[in-house]
Symmetry: C2
Subunit: 602 residues, 2 copies
């Protein structure tokens, strides 16, 4: 394993470890009187212990002979001792926290390693964005084992974006020791139909012997076979038990996902209920995307373990799913995910196997959290704020939002959003022009939407109409807008929309709600318009304030953030607005806002 994920690589310390195991030199730390969660054999070993030296486990079982006068002895008092929890697929940016603050939030919950895919920031800052994430993650002991983004931009030629990742970039990145694999290969049609780009990108990963991570959101078994031919080792996109089971059967680690917005565990847990005797080594748990308030109120993998057990999964199986099954899938099982000699001493003590209260966390043999409190030292940031600021856009005016119309009544295309779902519906509506302009019609819940290129200040901005947000008066804006993360604004009137936009342009990005010329709430996300360097509790608080503001202006969608963040994502049906225009996401072509105007498809 790379030296960056341990205190010492095993090959440098085998003699130190064996000396401790033999009782010839004392351990640095010993845990005694624990119930060992043995993920190798799926058993509890009573009255077990662990001896640690040089950041690694030297002995497991009866380890009293490893105690010397200087040894730190931890009495587990019968608590459960398990390997540190691993989140095998996660986008840190969704938490709106920096990697460092994310780590501070999750370590006390027992998470000791994550496999982040920084594809959000990569869309903005390219390789430099990934490097920022890697560097910032080094400020805490959490092992951030990066996967390098595979699909930037997510959809080509439909929008202006900040970066493009090529096979050559992937080839280079696979040499970085902080990179353990390729980020989710979202372009599954490209893999299925033999597109050169995505195949070249997976090829560079396979050539380097690293892990291709997957993204296959379909029921189609034929397509899954074709997708697996890319070498994709895991997938977090199963929303039904059938999807998850088929992946497991085909040797693909199926993540049962439980994120803040994607709550698939209830469904996917049925795999194990309906097939109680199957081998579960290809099942895992992951968060994918977690918002700050979830991290603060519910936790991280401990919360997902709790949920798994609620859904009827055996607790020992659930712990295997978040430890050994993940590390084995990434070929890291000789390093982590199991309490065994030679492995890194990433260990947690858990009070019970139902609530999963994590009372002690060790990483590389050091106590990093106790009773929910972070004890690890956090290094100061090493980045320049300016380097991660992406807001190349001049202030806007109300008149910039104008939609001219030379007819008294115009039929327009309207994007209809559906609460809690990522698909939109393509609708139409007749709008009456005033002063040669088309306006929002809040009474019919038809709002105006604008998307601004914030990468190049190109002036390639576009406007349309959206239905479903329910705002009575005001506007909301966000720079979290997958995957190009251009500035998106929705509102009832041009002046409020301009104010919302300018609020974000000024603070470097984030989310804002505006009404009657007043800013009701703003969540500044100065790092690429995606993340803040505030702490998780601080962010949870400002996000809660924004939530209240959304409701104040009349929005009654659940998680309207996410709905707005997907409004420009041209790879999901049916109708989207990017900064270049309205996209028919069924036919994959631009379409006109005005129905009937030079529209070859109609």
């Amino acid at each position: 394993m790379s030296q960056v994920f341990c205190k010492f690589p095993l090959y440098k310390v085998t003699r130190d470890l064996s000396a401790v195991a033999m009782g010839l030199s004392p351990a640095e730390t010993v845990i005694v009187n624990a119930r060992l969660v043995n993920v190798a054999t799926r058993e509890i070993e009573e009255n077990a212990g662990v001896a640690v030296v040089k950041g690694r486990i030297a002995a497991v079982g009866d380890v009293r002979h490893c105690i010397g006068p200087e040894t730190r002895v931890i009495d587990a008092c019968g608590r459960y001792l398990a390997p540190g929890l691993i989140d095998g697929h996660i986008h840190i940016e969704s938490s709106m926290l920096t990697p460092c603050e994310y780590a501070r939030a999750v370590i006390p919950h027992g998470t000791t390693a994550i496999m982040p895919d920084p594809h959000e920031i990569c869309n903005l800052l390219g390789i430099e964005g990934v490097k920022f994430m890697i560097e910032d993650s080094k400020r805490t002991p959490l092992k951030a084992m990066f996967t390098f983004p595979s699909c930037v931009p997510a959809v080509e030629d439909f929008e202006d974006t900040g970066a493009e990742i090529t096979a050559e970039d992937v080839k280079q990145a696979m040499q970085w020791e902080e990179v353990v694999g390729l980020g989710e290969m979202m372009n599954f049609p490209g893999i299925q139909y033999g597109a050169e780009g995505p195949h070249a990108i997976v090829a560079e990963t396979l050539k380097a012997g690293k892990t291709v991570t997957g993204h296959y959101p379909s029921e189609d078994a034929r397509g899954l076979n074709a997708y697996l031919c890319s070498g994709a080792a895991n997938c977090h996109e199963s929303v039904t038990a059938e999807q998850a089971l088929l992946k497991m059967r085909r040797g693909m680690l199926a993540f049962f996902r439980e994120g803040s917005a994607w709550r698939d565990l209830k469904e996917t847990a049925n795999v194990l209920k309906e097939n109680p005797t199957i081998d579960t080594r290809y099942a895992s748990l992951c968060s994918d995307d977690t918002h700050p308030e979830t991290l603060c109120s519910k936790g991280h993998m401990d919360h997902i373990l709790r949920r798994a057990v609620e859904e009827g999964i055996d607790p020992l199986t659930a712990i295997q799913m978040t430890t050994l099954n993940v590390s084995a899938n990434y070929h890291l099982d000789r390093e982590m995910g199991i309490v065994a000699p030679g492995r890194v001493a990433d260990l947690i003590l858990i009070d019970d196997l139902k609530q999963f209260n994590v009372s002690l966390v060790l990483i590389d043999g050091e106590i990093v959290a106790e009773n929910g409190r972070l004890l690890a030292e956090v290094e100061p940031p090493r980045y320049e704020r300016a380097a991660v600021r992406v807001m190349n856009l001049d202030p806007v005016k109300g008149e910039d939002f104008r939609i001219a119309c030379d007819k008294p009544v115009q039929t327009v295309r309207v994007i209809e959003v559906i609460g809690g779902k990522s698909v939109t519906r393509a609708k139409t509506a007749d709008l009456t022009a005033r002063d040669g302009l088309l306006h929002a019609d809040p009474a019919r819940d038809i709002l105006k939407v604008g998307v601004f290129d914030r990468h190049h200040n190109s002036g390639r901005n576009s406007f349309g109409f959206v239905k479903g947000f329910g705002i009575g008066e005001g506007a909301m804006a966000s720079t979290v807008s997958h995957d190009a993360h251009n500035l998106i604004v929705v509102g009832t009137n041009d002046e409020d929309m301009a104010l919302a936009a300018n609020t974000l342009i000024e603070c470097g990005g984030g989310m804002a709600a505006v009404k009657d010329g007043k800013v009701l709430a703003v969540v500044p996300l100065p790092i690429a318009g995606l993340m803040s360097d505030r702490t998780a509790p601080e962010m949870a608080k400002v996000v809660a304030a924004l939530d209240r503001a959304w409701h104040d202006i009349g929005c009654n969608l659940p998680s309207p953030f996410i709905t707005m963040a997907l409004l420009a994502l041209a790879c999901i049906p049916e109708l989207r607005l990017t900064n270049r225009g309205l996209v028919d996401c069924v036919r994959f072509c631009f379409t006109d806002l005005f129905v009937g105007k030079t529209d070859p498809q109609n």
Copy 2:
């Protein structure tokens, strides 16, 4: 994975594979109407199929759409379709066959990959011996994924041997693409007590990211912890269920061994009987050492599967043990050991899950055996016989075996062998001198034994007495004599002993039985005195003739071969004879043949 173990590395053919999976281009081969042994989930999938192109699996499940006019369609007619069987720890030399002939013998039994440790020939020819094994193995499609010998010589300074392997050698060998790991690290005391040599050797393996294979034959849990600190990933030395279970619990793949002489499966299978609910991912099956007659009469991994099921192991679990569990342990599970898209098309059809009759074998998508008959092409040998001949020893005479004695009666140390066990007992006996010489005393089953340095013709030869072979008249000789493989001779009289020795010196090594000045039987092993280039059936025949000859001269030991082959192995208690003298294998020092003569320990 190395390109040497597949037709094409996956990264070169992902597009070809996905095209077949999608039905856009036809498969080369399709198997339909099979019961798929799904080792990922431990289930049978009824009416399943597999589509193959470029040597790899493109699709699994319903694959009828992958059939084109040129596709070879194999109707499994309801037979079981499983991954090719893998033997994760094996010494080819024990079969007395070349790698090529070994492959010809095992492929029809469903073996598609082996992890050989060529440490026998390495003791004779060093790195060149390993290279010979690698080159010879390339003559057939069997995937010989070598581990590079770690302990040559096995015991230092007690005998003359042909080669020495250093950490620098290991460092070089780890760069060879045919080498997947380090051969069994037998020096477990060296690991436990921090010896520099063995730790440096495992360090070079770990640094290269390859697999350290283990050898831990003890019950001692403390010692196992210390041994595991070397990174050893697996071990084939468990002889009790307790030993095997402890290894599994500590994340070490425990091979349940069933070789020709080491029949540990009956005992080790109890792990699964006594713990029916444990996770079995760290359990496996291997042969370690198999003689030609076993290969011909019983088979290879198919035989061991049959034995496993006889011992009560669930058939699907047993198949997992010989496929996915092994490939995962070597981090080769993305390549083999599972029937899934992207993996190599190493596949077998089995008639049932009790007899395990293998009726069809494919390697890299090509049919290589059918109904027990090898169909694969075998390439001609590429080596010079002279290069692998190791017999640097002039012919001997009867008088060379003389043991002078100046007392009328002398108490001597006698090695007592025990049939079927590797340990010996240190005994003494009073011998009466005749003409100033000590002789064998067949009436008391006390025979003479001599060991000759065959590496350097140094004249460093030694003589002693052995009990337990039961030979009435005659002699037997062998150049298979672990681990230095010097020439060893046991007999009742010096003339027959000289004849037996000279028979082997002349033919380049092997095994011989002699009586009354006549050679009763000889098994020539011209390749390093260890192997023949004859076929397995031919070798089984000559070995059977030798067996009869042993019996003719009165030997009633089971497998006397093996007993004699271990007589010089100074790392096993209690008393051994190497070419340099008698070794007290409890105190690890030389001792004198004559009791009472300058013997500081007594």
